[in-house]
């Protein structure tokens, strides 16, 4: 049963395969282009360039808006570059933008997000990698049943489980705290991460595992001394996947935390969509860029690993 689910998501399997094998972008297979300035080439590059401009436009507009003063924005061309560059909106967004009565800027949300993301990423990957390892190498009766439920559970809309989790968190005294949200991220990261690690560990040569067993190594020794050092790429993929996913989360943040502990996305939305006060579009755009900066940096730095990560995580939606 589990294998049907796995087979059904080839990209996840591809993402979980060791580095050498997942040549998703190994080489083009389309027909060969002829002359450099053929009509065909002009059409291809022209179309791609126009689409690329469309994709870049919002980022460009955000950047130029965040560098303008309000008087210049009121003059009104969002596409024109700033006549006079000012970093004041960025400073204001970071340290003194208001949500309700609180005027300490996005920095609070940023640090909350850091305090949520770091333990969530660490814990969810620790739990899921050990679990995936157990599922791949130390199968026990019934394990596949729970794993199947876990993978199917990834398709259940979060809204269905929101309130039961509120009750669970309240019972264990974590409702409204950062650690409650960390737990929620561990829970909802588990299906995809466990799948990722299980497939990866299952793809490693079995002889390694057997040899270690013969030498008398146990569950944890094999995990720490053999599996862990061999699977750094998949850990990097998992970290990219989790950092961007958790940093970008809004729903869990708004449901399971209080205003003091709101993550950055929630605070950003509250700042920009505040009903009262004069709208400062430059500050809003600076705040939006600040929130998007962490995943963007990860994206531009990690390149192809990011593609593998999202191909694996896409099922999360």
């Amino acid at each position: 049963m589990v294998d049907h689910v796995l087979r059904a998501t080839p990209d996840m399997a591809a993402a979980a395969a060791p580095a050498g094998r997942a040549g998703d972008f190994a080489g083009p297979s389309g027909p060969r282009p002829r002359r450099a300035f053929s009509r065909r080439n002009i059409f291809i590059y022209g179309t791609l360039a126009v689409v690329a401009i469309y994709y870049l436009l919002p980022l460009y507009v955000m950047v130029v808006t965040s560098l303008k003063g309000m008087p210049e924005i009121r003059l009104g061309n969002i596409f024109s570059p700033p006549m006079e560059i000012t970093f004041e909106p960025w400073v204001k967004a970071w340290s003194s933008a208001c949500t309700g009565l609180n005027c300490d800027g996005l920095s609070r949300g940023f640090w909350n997000s850091v305090r949520i993301t770091v333990p969530s990423v660490f814990l969810s990957i620790a739990i899921a990698s050990v679990n995936g390892y157990a599922l791949a190498n130390w199968r026990f009766k019934g394990a596949d049943i729970f794993f199947t439920i876990l993978v199917i559970g990834a398709f259940i809309p979060y809204q269905v489980m929101l309130y039961p989790i509120v009750i669970v968190l309240r019972e264990i005294g974590l409702y409204g705290s950062l650690w409650g949200l960390v737990l929620v991220h561990c829970i909802f990261g588990m299906p995809i991460l466990t799948l990722l690690f299980r497939n990866y560990f299952a793809s490693l040569p079995e002889e390694l595992f057997k040899a270690a067993r013969v030498d008398g190594a146990g569950f944890w020794t094999i995990y720490l001394r053999i599996m862990l050092p061999m699977s750094l790429p998949i850990f990097v993929v998992a970290i990219i996947l989790q950092v961007t996913g958790i940093w970008n989360d809004f729903l869990f943040g708004v449901v399971y935390t209080k205003p003091d502990t709101y993550p950055m996305t929630v605070q950003l939305n509250n700042i920009v969509n505040a009903v009262q006060g004069v709208k400062e579009y430059n500050v809003n755009m600076a705040a939006t860029l600040l929130t998007g900066l962490v995943p963007l940096v990860i994206y531009f730095v990690s390149g192809k690993l990011f593609v593998r990560g999202i191909a694996a995580g896409a099922v999360k939606g």
């Binding site: 469309y54 808006t65 466990t194 939305n269 998007g292 593609v307």
Partner: protein
């Protein structure tokens, strides 16, 4: 201790570390996924208001749900958003992937550009597009400044077309991923196929439509499931871009659930609405799982 009991006990403790390592998974699967879902479905048949109460009212919550204009609006919006986002992301994603597959230069640059919005959260996406579509400063004003004074393009302030304004942002964020999946699918197809089609003199577009696309079925199915499960969850984008407005014109089911559960303190409605969301996912996922089952069984 009898030998039988001892045997049972040792079986339980065999492979103990693996069982301990699986405890989080077992708890999540049973308590959250099975237990939580069953709990919500169960309480959707009660008249819970501020707190969950086990007073059964049958299907009353569902009757009320389907008589609420806000919910009907949410379903209609989701249907429009769903159909258009499915069609457009598949078509645009495939066309971009096909263009990218023509042995072009700067492929990595183009891919980086098409995919970067996917790294951004829906909140950031929504706020960026809220600004671009702002009627007094955004595209509308820019075109008017060029001299076309009657130009109107304010989807976020027009109840009739607001969902298309959200669609623009959603497509901007998500098509890059679809393009990547399709490109991986295209690259997975044997180059010999192209050569054979060429030898037979089949035009390129015909090769795509009648040979390549049918061969990409597994990738297409996966993509379809990914898009569909993403559509049902649409929430943050609407919250950031319009907060559901103007009025209730851009309401979506996920937002309806949140509002009734955590703001309107009408839990029963929230549970009923989330159960309907679950039902819609089941309708999409079960046939897909069944198809995959079937094909697996046929291959033995």
């Amino acid at each position: 201790m009898t030998p039988v009991e001892a045997g049972r006990q040792s079986r339980l403790f065999r492979n103990l570390s693996a069982k301990i390592a699986s405890i989080p998974m077992i708890l999540t699967a049973l308590v959250i996924f099975v237990g939580g879902t069953a709990w919500t479905v169960f309480y959707s048949f009660t008249n819970s208001k501020l707190l969950p109460r086990a007073t059964f009212v049958g299907l009353e919550q569902y009757e009320r749900l389907w008589a609420t204009p806000r919910w009907l609006m949410a379903v209609e919006n989701l249907a429009i958003y769903g159909v258009f986002s499915l069609v457009f992301s598949l078509v645009i994603g495939f066309l971009l992937a096909a263009l990218m597959d023509q042995k072009i230069r700067f492929e990595n640059t183009f891919r980086t550009i098409f995919l970067y919005p996917f790294a951004l959260s829906f909140i950031v996406t929504g706020l960026a597009w809220q600004w671009i579509l702002n009627p007094s400063f955004g595209i509308q004003q820019v075109v008017r400044n060029l001299g076309w004074q009657s130009f109107t393009f304010d989807p976020l302030y027009d109840a009739d077309i607001v969902i298309y304004g959200i669609l623009i942002a959603g497509l901007w964020q998500g098509t890059g991923l679809i393009m990547c999946l399709m490109l991986a699918g295209l690259r997975g197809i044997d180059g010999e196929i192209w050569k054979a089609a060429r030898v037979d003199g089949i035009p390129t577009w015909k090769t795509y439509v009648f040979i390549i696309i049918p061969m990409m079925r597994p990738v297409l199915v996966t993509t379809l499931v990914i898009i569909a499960s993403g559509i049902v969850k649409v929430y943050d984008l609407v919250v950031a871009q319009t907060s559901g407005g103007p009025g209730i014109a851009s309401e979506v089911p996920a937002k309806y659930v949140y509002n009734y559960m955590f703001l309107a303190q009408n839990l029963g409605q929230g549970f009923a609405a989330s159960t309907m969301m679950l039902l819609s996912v089941i309708i999409v996922v079960v046939p897909w799982a069944y198809l995959e089952f079937g094909s697996k069984r046929r291959h033995g």
